[in-house]
Symmetry: C2
Subunit: 234 residues, 2 copies
Amino acid sequence: MNSASGVEVLAFDIFGTVVDWHGSIVREMARAHPQVDGDAFATAWRAGYRPAMARVMSGELGWTLIDDLHRMILDGILPQFGLEHLDEGARRELNRVWHRLDPWPDAVEGLQRLKRRYILCTLSNGNIGLLTRMAKRAGLPWDCILSAEVFRAYKPDPATYLGVARVFDLPPRQVMLVAAHHDDLEGARGCGLRTAYIERPLEFGAARPKDVSPRAQNDLHARDLLALADQLGC
Amino acid sequence: MNSASGVEVLAFDIFGTVVDWHGSIVREMARAHPQVDGDAFATAWRAGYRPAMARVMSGELGWTLIDDLHRMILDGILPQFGLEHLDEGARRELNRVWHRLDPWPDAVEGLQRLKRRYILCTLSNGNIGLLTRMAKRAGLPWDCILSAEVFRAYKPDPATYLGVARVFDLPPRQVMLVAAHHDDLEGARGCGLRTAYIERPLEFGAARPKDVSPRAQNDLHARDLLALADQLGC
C-alpha cells in the first residue's frame, strides 16, 4: 500500500504553497510604488498575519475575513514606508493584491494533472471571495473552494482539517493536505489526514531562503506540484 | 443601462435549472431497478424535499445536509415501490444518484461561455460534497461552490442570497440569481439581487409539463443557458 492509497481529496494550502505572495507583492510595489523597498514591505505585511489571526481566535476580535485583516495590517504599516498619504481607493486597490497573487510556475500544470485523478480543493485561511478571484485570474482549476470562512476557524484549528473530511463524507485518511509549511501539515496529521510537503525555498524571497529538508512524518515530499503529480502517477 | 449592467457574479440554482434531476433518476431506476415506475419514484423522492427542509428550518431537526435528507426520504418511500429489501450498501449507492445527475444539454457550453465574463457560483440547497462531485462528473465549470451548507440556511432564507453578495464583497444588485423556479427568484429579488428565469418545461418529466411563461418581475427570461449567454453578450 503506497503512502497515498485510498486518498480521494487533495486539499491545498495556498499562500506560499500554490502562489508566490512575496514575489507578487514585490512586483506590485515596483510597479505602483517604486520608491518603497518591496521586499521589506511584503515581509512586514505578512508578518502581521499570524498575530492578527491570533486576535480573532482569542476572541479579542470577532470573526474577521482575511481581506479585512490584511487591510488592518496594511493601514498599520503604511506610515513606516512613507505611504500614509494613500487615500481609501488606493488602499483598497493595494489590499486587493492578495487577489492577484501569481502562481508558482509549476502550479497550474501540476494542478491540471492532479485534477484528473483527485478532487482538488483549497484549504486556506484566505476568504472565499479572495480565493475565487485569485483562481479565476491565475487559472487554478479547483473543484471546490474551501476556506476558514466556511468553517469559521483558521488553520491549524482541527475544525478546518476535519471539516474537509466531513464535507466530502470521508474518513480523514482519505484526505491529503498539500502544503509548504510544517506546522500546517502537523495540524492536519494530528487530525488523521495524510500530508504532502512541497518545497518552496524562495517563499520569503531570495534574500531569506527557507530550509526545505524533508521530515519523515510527512507521507510525501515533493519539489513542486509537477513532482507531486509524478509521485501520484498523474 | 441594460438589465444586467454591473453584475459581476452569476449564482445558479442547480436541481432543475442546471441538471435534470427527474430524467436522471428515471434513467437510474431503469438501469438498476427496471421493475419500478421510475417517473413515480423520482416524483415521490423529490416531493419529500421541501417538507424535510421545513422540518430543519422549524428546528424540529438540527442542521442536516441534503445528502442526509435525501436518504431519510428514500428510506421512507422504498416500501411503496417494493424496494424495502435494499440493504445499506444499495441504499447508499442509490442515494448517491443525486451526485450523478446529468446536466441539461445546453448547460456545460452555456456555463463555459458565461464564465468568460462572470464569476459563476452555485447557490443550491445541495451540500458542498454533492455539488462538487456532480460538477466534476458532469464538467460544470464553477468558479466557486456555494451552498446552503456554507450559510447554514436553505433557500429562500435571505441569509443565502445576501451571503453570496457578502462573500464577494458586492452590493446585492451586482449579483444575479439564475433559476428555473419563481419562488427562488422572488426570494433573491426581495434581497436586492437581479434575477434570470430559465425555462425548463420538462423539469418534472414529459408527463407533467411546467408553465414557463415569462413574469415581468425578472430582469431576464431565457429558454436555456445558451440563450442567457446570448442575452448577456458572452
